[in-house]
Amino acid sequence: MDNIYLPYLATIEDIYEEAPDVRTCRLVFKDPKVRDTFDFKTGQFALYSAFGLGESTFCIASSPTHKGYIQCTFRKSGRVTGGLSDLGIGDTMGFRGPYGNWFPIDKWKGKNILFIAGGIGFPPVRSVIWNCLDRRKDFGDITIVYGAKSVADLVYKNELAQWSRMSDVKLVQAVDPGGETPDWKGKIGFVPTVLEQAAPSPNNAIAVTCGPPIMIKFVLQALNKLGFSDEQVYTTLENKMKCGVGKCGRCNVGDIYICKEGPVYTAAEVKRMYNDF
């Protein structure tokens, strides 16, 4: 019987502690058939299970260009993410997905791409970043603006260091005022302000943003000020989900089911939705 609620089993191959209570797990499917055939598109999400505690929804943080494994990055904050955080290397996680739509990066060929992320909103953006970097020739300028509350809260620190050394990537890092350390070399300020100061050009550009709702709100305003139209801006929404497949009835924003028609939308699409955020 086809069972849409049955997850795949995956082994945690590696764990990287990104920030306090934030970790990235590298997962490899146990079933060799799944391992060989599994594919997804950048921006899709999944439900990850800690057996006995339940499932939790987050994006696939790795890029589909990196084959053979997937990664998820999450903050320990509730029952399930607490359970997932108790797992160690070699332990088993459940994985149900990939679900939802994706960032249409094939349509962005030849364009300059601007990434703007805040805090734990970085993982979905990171998937797109690697996807674009792995096809670097397809795109124009690549700019990354990333901020977190404090230096300790920045995730993907190794990758930030790696990207900062790349001559064809412009990286702007920021921490909120008060979150800096004495040796902090990045910007100090909130992401929307830092973005405005960086003043990327809207010409032939696409912006991809994810972060806390309040950040997204002001980032959209900043992008409009810089001359970006709502059609040029993509974001990924998140809502509580249980099924991930359009049945359980809780992720809808008005008549839009985030799990089915989303999670990726343009700012123009977001503005047309019912105000149910």
Binding site: D2, K30, G52, L53, T92, K240, V245, G249, D255, K260
Partner: protein, 340 residues
């Protein structure tokens, strides 16, 4: 399709035969001093003098609780087994036309894109034998939502009571026809003379225009209308309306068990509960009761018709009957219909 005749005594024989074959026979019967749809074991348990059971029969297609997987956790990893279901044939006798019409709504939700075989296998094995309504109460409003007390929609077999307590029986679907052919010794030819009881006359609520409600809801500006807070002010968020509703389909998925083994279970849930949409971060998109009530109303008269091309409301009136604060959905429909 052909019309046949089912004598009351043959109904008893039909039940005995079906139960003998291992089928489940659901019919209106007494449960906690109220008429409920529930399995019966013999003819005598059936209640014939009823308006509408307190529950809908969705629980026989979409159980309140259903295990979808089982797992055990040990040193070497996790054993995970998906649950396979082989539902028994389930005959739902004495369904009302409103409830029968709700089946298409559930089917739409459980089958757009991803297919929920737990639902599908149960529905495949269900035979809906609807009895047209000869009585109604003040809460019944099927005609207001464009159904009728003798509607065929969703029924496999439609029965009409006769003055003698027997039934004129019409097969509506192939499944219904197959069922009647299988038991053709019980379904007799229609006698030349019989007197069907008249179907109840339910007047549509004059002030309600469902099409207008749908159009008004489509306008995203109206989502912020202060009317919502006023209309839903008395809602206490008990969720009774959602559990009684034949088309409400929301569910939760939870793990239950010990640290070493357990089950993953689908349970009925309700959009009226605060925790339903609560994010781990503490953010809640529907953080006040009126927003949750608005969601349910929108689901019935906007999301269902527009997204699933099916009805979100069949006018059974259960949400009105069970509501502890008498928040009447038809009053809200009327209020919105009156807006210019």
């Amino acid at each position: 399709m052909t019309t046949k005749f089912l004598k009351k005594e043959n109904l008893g024989k039909l039940i005995d035969t079906l139960i003998g074959e291992g089928s489940i026979f659901v019919a209106p019967r007494m449960g906690a001093r109220q008429v409920v749809y529930a399995p019966v074991s013999k003819f005598e348990e059936i209640v014939f003098d009823y308006i509408i059971p307190i529950n809908s029969f969705k629980e026989f297609l979409f159980p309140q609780t259903e295990t979808v997987a089982a797992f055990s956790i040990h040193k070497e990893g996790v054993d995970l087994r998906g649950v396979e279901i082989e539902p028994k044939e389930t005959v739902i006798f004495g369904s009302r036309p409103c409830d029968a019409a709700s089946v298409a709504s559930l089917r739409a939700v459980f089958n757009w894109d991803f297919k929920d075989e737990f639902y599908n296998r149960r529905e495949d094995k269900a035979v809906v034998m609807t009895v047209a309504c000869t009585k109604a109460d003040d809460s019944c409003f099927c005609t207001t939502v464009n159904l009728t007390p003798d509607s065929q929609k969703g029924s496999d077999i439609l029965l009409q009571e006769t003055s003698g307590g027997d039934y004129a029986v019409e097969a509506i679907t192939e499944k219904g026809k197959g069922f009647m052919d299988r038991f053709n010794n019980f379904f007799e030819p229609l006698p030349t003379a019989y007197s069907p009881l008249p179907t109840v006359d339910i007047k549509p609520i004059a002030g309600v225009d469902v099409q207008k409600v749908k159009e008004w809801l489509k306008d995203t500006k109206h989502y912020e209308n202060p009317l919502w807070q006023e209309l839903a002010r008395k809602c206490i968020g008990c969720g009774a309306c959602t559990f009684a509703c034949p088309t409400c389909h929301c569910f939760d998925i939870v793990d239950e068990g010990s640290a070493f083994e357990g089950e993953r279970i689908k349970n009925w849930d309700a959009c009226q509960f605060e925790f339903f949409t609560l994010h781990t971060s503490g953010h809640n998109p529907r953080d006040t009761q009126y927003k949750r009530w608005r969601n349910r109303f929108m689901c019935k008269f906007n999301f269902y018709p527009n997204k699933f091309s099916s009805r979100g409301c069949v006018g059974c009136g259960r949400c009105i009957r069970v509501c502890p604060v008498r928040l009447d959905i038809t009053e809200v429909m009327e209020e919105i219909s009156s807006l210019r």
